[in-house]
């Protein structure tokens, strides 16, 4: 447990006399869109293994004894990225470039949960129609569109063929004959309506078929009804549904024709095949993009460009580079090196281009716009993702750092605890401010929360965690002083204390509850449901596999994919409080 912290401190000490690129080979120059040189740098010093617990994780709770219960499945509206990827796969890049779906709404911290629980807004229907209109206009005339690669005559036979092929990809299942007749009929009607008006009535028929497919609930939602021969409270997903759930989980996109074939043929009911399929998907470039997107959402970086941070140096391109820095760290640990995920909380390696390095005040790597693998300056004590610019800037106010917001993120998103909204009728003024105009640090100001019992109950769960990051301001810069006073970065989490970010991250990263919270986050993201007691034992087993792998994220994803908690669903509604309408 705590022994790992000492190791981390030693590790930091080793590098303390060196700066920036001391531990790396000369920086590789690669364009921003491609991975950098993947040669591993000097690895983090591994934690001393505990013979009882080779992973060095804190003790786990016993395996839950609740009987398995399937999690409720809901229609899940495709999220932004999923929608674009589905359009891309169906109609090609030119069409995908003009796709513009309505905004996603998070619930319980997850866009996937919002997509599964909230209804489409009235205006969302308009947005989908507008998006489909733009996409269909391009796809119906783009010579390289897959939609034009089937046949090109304005008759029922051709449109039938098109609908069978495109429709199966769009709906992620083989269409019924009546579906085919309806959509092909629309194509014929449209071609006829335009016959006297345009030179290529076929294009118009195709355009309206695409317009309809892209507005169908079978395209817009991931539809799961399971094996309808089974009881509604515990149904296996059909083969096509499992293929679809798996593909969207791992690649953020629909299944390929081949995967759908395998699903419809029943092959995925074999755990071995399912396991191998998940691994194949993870080997695809789309999986990298999907994991990047998942972390971009978890780190709440989707609106990073428009965040109100009044620093002229924080230009749009610096913001882009900051996000890229964090996502490259993830790509590096999860895919390039398929390494222990805990490195994300300890690593002193980072990825910067010249502009971002200049912004941070690091020596320039000399790679221009290209990202280089470098070491953060040892004196700054940066340790992992939460000490990089994107997180630090995101979780702050526009005029100061915020131990509360940072601590709240750790508590809610890394430790899976709920922090309630503040109560009513509390004077939230920090009392010290009224007395005098003496300079204070943010930490000093926050300490006042602890003197008011009604504030303290909540703030105690957040602020002491966030204090670990007080050496980094609201723009991601390192500081030794604030308002002329020295920074105190001593922090604590649930009774364990640390002096600084490195020490604190050492505590955090070896908590088994953080590792299992990560599994739950993946599960929620992939299924759109918050796990309940019925799935806890199955997810405990996922944790076990994840821990045994040495905390490799890809292994957690495979373990989720083959878990009953993923493949068996309930069609009965969750018992949750609802207002009367």
């Amino acid at each position: 447990m705590i022994r790992s912290m000492n190791v981390r401190l030693i590790s930091a000490g080793l590098c303390s006399a060196l700066i920036l690129t001391c531990c790396t080979p000369s920086p590789a120059k690669t364009p921003p869109d491609t991975p950098v040189d993947n040669t591993p740098d000097v690895p983090d010093v591994p934690d001393v293994p505990d013979p009882e617990d080779p992973n060095g994780l804190t003790d786990r709770n016993p395996r839950p004894t609740d009987a398995f219960g399937a999690a409720p499945t809901r229609l899940r509206r495709l999220r932004d990225g999923q929608y674009r990827n589905a359009v891309q796969q169906l109609l090609g890049s030119a069409a995908a470039a003009v796709a513009l779906p309505p905004v996603d709404v998070p619930l319980n911290g997850f866009l996937a949960v919002g997509a599964a629980e909230l209804a489409l807004s009235g205006i969302g229907v308009d947005s989908y129609e507008a998006s489909a209109t733009a996409v269909a206009a391009v796809a119906s005339v783009d010579p390289s569109s897959p939609a034009r690669a089937i046949c090109l005559s304005a008759d029922a036979a051709c449109y039938t063929q098109i609908v069978r092929t495109l429709g199966r990809r769009a709906f992620r299942r083989t269409l019924s004959d009546s579906d085919v007749t309806a959509y092909a009929g629309l194509g014929v009607t449209a071609a006829n309506a335009y016959a006297a008006l345009v030179d290529q009535p076929f294009d118009k028929g195709l355009e309206f078929i695409v317009l309809a497919l892209l507005q169908s609930p079978h395209f817009l939602y991931i539809v799961e009804v399971g094996d309808e021969a089974q009881a509604p409270d515990a149904r296996s997903l059909t083969g096509a549904e499992l293929a679809t759930r798996l593909a969207f989980f791992i690649t953020d996109g629909p299944p390929s024709d081949a995967l759908l074939d395998a699903g419809e043929a029943g092959s995925l009911s074999s755990p071995t095949v399912l396991d191998a399929t998940a691994r194949e998907l993870l080997a695809q470039p789309e999986a990298r993009a999907a994991v990047r997107n998942a972390f971009r959402e978890r780190l709440q970086l989707l609106d990073f460009q428009t965040l109100n941070r009044p620093d002229p140096a924080l230009t749009p391109s610096v913001r882009t580079a900051m996000v890229e820095e964090s996502l490259r760290l993830i790509d590096d640990v999860v895919f390039d090196r398929n390494s222990d995920l805990r490195e994300l909380f300890s690593t002193t390696t980072t990825f910067v281009n010249d502009e971002l390095a200049a912004y941070y005040g690091f020596p320039l790597p000399g790679s221009g716009a290209f990202f280089s693998r470098v070491q953060t300056p040892a004196a700054e004590g940066r340790a992992g993702l939460l000490t990089r610019g994107a997180f630090l800037t995101r979780f702050a106010h526009n005029n100061r750092s915020s131990p509360t917001l940072r601590g709240k993120f750790i508590r809610e998103n890394l430790l899976c605890a709920s922090v309630p909204a503040p109560p009513n009728d509390v004077t939230t003024t920090l009392p010290e401010q009224i007395d005098d105009n003496l300079p204070r640090t943010t930490r000093d100001r926050m300490a006042a929360h602890m003197t008011e019992p009604r504030c303290a109950a909540c703030h105690e769960t957040m602020d002491p965690l966030g204090f670990a990051l007080e050496h980094y301001d609201q723009f991601g810069h390192y500081r030794t002083h604030e308002n002329g006073l020295p920074i105190d970065s001593s922090a604590a989490v649930d009774g364990e204390a640390a002096d600084d970010a490195t020490g604190f991250m050492g505590l955090l990263k070896n908590r088994s509850d953080m590792a299992s919270c990560l599994v739950r986050a993946l599960y929620r993201h992939g299924t759109g449901t918050i796990e309940e007691s019925g799935q806890e034992a199955a997810l405990y087993d996922v944790d076990t596999a994840f821990f045994a792998s040495g905390l490799k994220l890809q292994e957690a994803m495979v373990a989720i994919a083959v878990s009953d908690s993923f493949g068996i669903v309930s069609l009965t509604a969750r018992a949750s409080p609802e207002g009367e309408n």
Binding site: P106, L107, G122, V125, A182, P217, P422, N424, R574, G579
Partner: protein, 444 residues
């Protein structure tokens, strides 16, 4: 009815199949200018103007009551329309819930307590308790699918991390928050971009309607195979489909009265005042042309971190900083907010309709997510009602201060709105936050 309308309608039937009713004023006004020639009253319009983080009560509540009260500092921007304003104070959101902001916004706008989501191992989130006042009115008044509630957003800083209660102000139900539009270009497209050209031989709109019919068929066929909650969600989706279909089938509004279709707008963003004014202009035309009857304006968000001009820090942060300097900035933010609201009301008042103006036939509820940001209180709620609602509201308006011992319920104000707008429902909301008693003092 005039022959041109009849001809257009006939035309549409021929080309478009089952086209829907027209959202246009159907004829000339009567001689009084209070009703259409066929005896139907001019439509009453309703709007919500919402801002986050409350007010400074010491600068908000007027010191005197009754008719000739002096406007307070924060209400002073409303001086140009003061006759149209009724201010009520010392009304309370009677929610038992313990959560600032959540209580206020759901209680004030729906008469229901918010629903806390039951997941202790994930981020705190809540949903609205039920439909919001704008959606209830749209439903009660049978405004119809072709004229859905127009939801507008001004400030971009909206808190998305605690669920739909804080993120949205218009809700058709707990699972049905309505996304507002912020881009004026998109608002324009919504309001004026989708009509069928009366003399076009372009089959596009007919085919768009056919596409939506196909979509509806898919949804209808899918519903029985799903859980009850999903069926309800698909019903919401179908409502959107029928609204879009109705608009596609609609003819452009007739250019009678003040209705004039504005030049297309390409602006997509802007600062608070710019956006608020552009939205106000579009809102006026939506009302004048009768393409909308109900609207909401989310000026700033609940818990919003909007940085007001010159404030230097986010609004929510400032409210929680008790220093005189920060509290002065909170005060200035409310003044900017009321200036924008006043500008919107003045535009309505300056638009003639019948014998009067649009504000005579409108009613706006201007309110927030709590009373004072500093304390998260919901006891003395900031509430302004603007407009005469076709003569149903007291004019010139008064300041009514409720009793301090047993505070009145904010849902009474919702009930007042229902009555003034012509809804026949006998009560609103549920439980502690329900009401069946309108505030008669501020009604005509």
């Amino acid at each position: 009815m005039r022959h041109t309308t009849l001809k257009r309608r006939t035309f549409l039937r021929g080309v478009g199949g089952a086209m829907l009713a027209l959202p246009v004023l159907e004829g000339m006004l009567n001689t009084d200018g209070t009703a259409l020639a066929q005896g139907r009253l001019l439509p009453k319009r309703f709007g919500v103007f919402f801002w986050g983080n409350g007010v400074r009560l010491d600068r908000w509540v007027p010191s005197a009551t009754g008719l000739n009260y002096a406007l307070s500092a924060e209400l002073a921007p409303l001086a140009p329309v003061r006759d149209y304003i009724n201010v009520v104070s010392n009304f309370k959101v009677y929610a038992a819930g313990p959560r600032g902001h959540h209580d206020g916004v759901s209680g004030m706008l729906s008469g229901r307590e918010f629903i806390e989501l039951p997941h202790p191992n994930s981020n705190y989130s809540s949903k609205f308790g039920g439909p919001s006042i704008d959606q209830m009115l749209h439903n009660d008044l049978n405004v119809g699918a072709a004229k859905p509630v127009l939801n507008l957003q001004v400030a971009p800083e909206i808190v998305t991390g605690e669920g739909p209660t804080l993120q949205f102000i218009s809700h058709r139900g707990p699972d049905e928050p309505q996304t507002p539009i912020r881009s004026p270009a998109e608002v324009y497209q919504q309001l004026f971009g989708s009509f069928s050209a009366p003399n076009s031989n372009d089959p596009r709109n007919t085919l768009r309607a056919s596409v939506l019919d196909l979509v509806k068929g898919d949804i209808d066929a899918l519903k029985p195979r799903l859980s009850a909650t999903d069926r309800q969600r698909l019903d919401a989706h179908l409502t959107g489909v029928s609204e879009l279909r109705a608009r596609i089938a609609s003819l452009p509004p007739e250019l009678i009265g003040a209705c004039a279709i504005p030049e297309p707008i390409t602006v997509t963003a802007g600062d608070l005042r710019t956006l608020s004014d552009l939205h106000a202009d579009l809102l006026v035309m939506a009302f004048a042309c009768d393409t909308r009857q109900v609207a909401t304006v989310q000026f700033t968000g609940s818990v919003g971190f909007t940085v007001f001009p010159g404030a230097g820090a986010g609004h929510h942060d400032l409210t929680h900083d008790g220093s005189a300097e920060s509290q002065e900035k909170v005060h200035q933010a409310t003044i900017v907010t009321m200036e924008c609201f006043s500008s919107m009301m003045q535009k309505l008042r300056n638009t003639p309709e019948g014998a009067g103006n649009l504000l005579d036939n409108s009613l706006f509820l201007a309110t927030s997510d709590l009373s004072e940001g500093l304390t998260h209180s919901v006891d003395d709620y900031p509430i302004v009602l603007a407009g005469r609602a076709g003569g149903a509201m007291r004019f010139p308006g008064i300041h009514l201060r409720g009793p301090s011992l047993l505070r009145k319920n904010t849902a009474d104000v919702l009930m007042t709105i229902m009555r003034a707008m012509g809804s026949t429902r006998s009560s609103i909301g549920t439980g502690l936050t329900a009401s069946s008693t309108p505030v008669s003092e501020i009604m005509a």
